[in-house]
């Protein structure tokens, strides 16, 4: 399934609404969307995964890459509401160590404010 992304500003960050699968086939689209946000100077990227059904091994690598790239520009990445299957893949690879997972947007946004 193809991926659609839409960005929405929140205090001190940007929420990227994602729909579709985060997979090898959609990697360029995801990378381009995220890189555009990073280059605008965003310090906190919140990936809304509520509408993402599937993440494959390439998708996992992209999440790690995005997290590293944001760290390099003094930013951070959070994840919002991953579905249970995606959540399981994330926890098997311990991704929450790199990308904190939140169940609601206020907490995700506040996570940044506490850190600041």
């Amino acid at each position: 399934m193809a991926m659609q992304t839409k960005e929405r500003p929140v205090p001190n960050g940007v929420v990227l609404e994602m729909t579709g699968d985060l997979t090898y086939a959609n990697r360029e689209q995801f990378k381009a969307a995220v890189e555009a946000i990073r280059q605008k100077g965003c310090r906190h990227l919140i990936l809304n995964m509520a509408e993402v059904r599937f993440v494959d091994s390439s998708g996992l690598g992209l999440l790690a890459l995005v997290s590293q790239n944001f760290k390099l520009s003094q930013g951070k990445v959070s994840m919002l509401k991953p579905q249970s299957y995606v959540r399981e893949i994330m926890s098997l690879a311990n991704i929450q160590k790199l990308i904190p997972v939140y169940d609601n947007e206020q907490d995700a946004v506040a996570g940044q404010q506490r850190a600041a």
């Binding site: 090898y24 091994s57 690598g61 992209l62 890459l65 311990n94 991704i95 160590k97 790199l98």
Partner: protein
């Protein structure tokens, strides 16, 4: 290519028109007109001779009379369209009475265009040129297709040679240490795999075993895997890590192999088997395909929630120890073995894999490895796995003493 003084004429002169008409006067007149326009012209007096000329000369364009004895125009066209070698020939059909139904029939039976016998000299010129344009495009398409096919062949040969190299890196099956047997199966998805496993002989009583999975498929992941496997040789480990401790090895590998710019990475399990101390030590990085099947029947998965290599350079990977007894079997495998979708889309999964291995019980290791693979194939309903599949089984036998 040699250059010619009058380029335009030269180009036209290379193009050949075949005129097929049983009526000599009309045929000769048309041939003369085409010759004046600069084309090379071949003539045939009936359909049969026309087909022979078409096959022999492969003209750019054939101008064909409808009414001919024996093989008429439409029948000629049908023959051409059924012949794989001739089917792309451009055919312009001539007719004296051009009713719409007749034109439709001619086109349906394989003509590309029509020319009325009453057509003006200008119309003839224009239709022949249009036919030549189409013929040129088709030729170019055929040439390009042929070139792609040839290049594809070269690439496939290269891939096969690379695949043979990767397979040459795989360990030899059989006795690893006195009493320790190993059997494996390897099915790369694209001929060239990113999954790799091996044995690292360390001493008379100790050996290392690993299975790694490079994310992505094909050439680049196979290259990265091959480079990683060099790091994991005994000399590489002594040089870079200075020990055979699984956790220390993965901690160092995590620094040596960062994420690629495309976000590619490795998952791995590295295990160390000490037969003297009857101890299995292991560390994992994002790899969930490993379990110990004890002689007692107990199955113990070695999966731990750990970051894959390259995700965070500061990660420390920790070694865990497990006691092993003679008859225990260790299985290292790629996730491609159990993440195979069945007909309904449901994945085969770790539980079914575990159940399959349990059912085999203490059958010979060889049968368990091949039987487990066969069961995954049965689940998905075909032989071709969507991802690389590797399975290595190691049995700890009864200790043979050194004395």
């Amino acid at each position: 290519m040699s250059s010619t003084p009058i380029e335009h004429t030269a180009q036209v002169a290379q193009q050949t028109v075949l005129v097929v008409d049983d009526e000599p006067t009309a045929r000769v007149a048309l041939a003369a007109r085409l010759t004046r326009l600069g084309y090379r012209v071949i003539q045939a007096g009936d359909g049969k001779a026309g087909l022979e000329a078409l096959r022999r000369e492969r003209p750019d364009l054939t101008i064909l009379d409808w009414m001919m004895p024996e093989l008429d125009g439409p029948a000629f066209c049908e023959r051409v369209r059924q012949d794989p070698e001739l089917m792309t020939s451009q055919i312009l059909m001539m007719t004296s009475h051009d009713q719409p139904e007749q034109i439709a029939e001619g086109l349906a039976r394989g003509a590309d265009d029509f020319l009325s016998k009453a057509a003006s000299k200008y119309e003839i010129t224009a239709r022949v040129q249009a036919g030549m344009r189409a013929a040129t495009l088709i030729r170019r398409l055929e040439d390009v297709t042929e070139e792609i096919r040839r290049k594809q062949e070269v690439l496939e040969r290269e891939l096969q040679s690379a695949a043979r190299y990767v397979e040459s890196l795989l360990p030899t099956q059989g006795t690893l240490l006195p009493g320790v047997q190993m059997v494996h199966a390897y099915r790369p998805s694209l001929g060239l795999g990113g999954d790799l496993f091996n044995v690292v002989p360390w001493s008379d009583d100790v050996l290392g075993l690993y299975l790694l999975d490079a994310s992505g498929h094909g050439v680049s992941s196979a290259l990265r895997s091959a480079s990683f496997s060099t790091f994991l040789r005994r000399e590489g480990l002594l040089h870079h890590v200075g020990s055979n401790d699984p956790g220390a090895i993965l901690t160092e590998a995590n620094k040596q192999f960062p994420l690629t710019e495309d976000g590619n990475y490795f998952t791995i399990i590295f295990a160390r088997l000490n037969v003297l101390e009857r101890r299995l030590s292991f560390a994992t990085a994002g790899h969930n395909g490993a379990f110990l099947h004890r002689r007692s029947g107990e199955v113990c998965w070695l999966a731990r929630p750990n970051l894959p290599l390259g995700f965070d350079g500061s990660t420390t990977y920790v070694t865990e120890d497990l006691p092993v007894e003679p008859g225990d079997r260790l299985y290292l495998l790629s996730d491609g073995l159990y993440e195979v979708p069945g007909v309904s889309g449901e994945l085969w999964g770790q539980e079914r894999l575990e159940q399959t291995v349990r059912t085999f019980g203490s059958c010979p290791l060889n049968d368990v490895v091949s039987g487990t693979l066969a069961e995954a194939v049965r689940w998905q309903g075909h032989e071709q796995f969507p991802d690389d599949v590797a399975l290595m089984g190691i049995e700890v036998g009864l200790r043979v003493s050194h004395e």
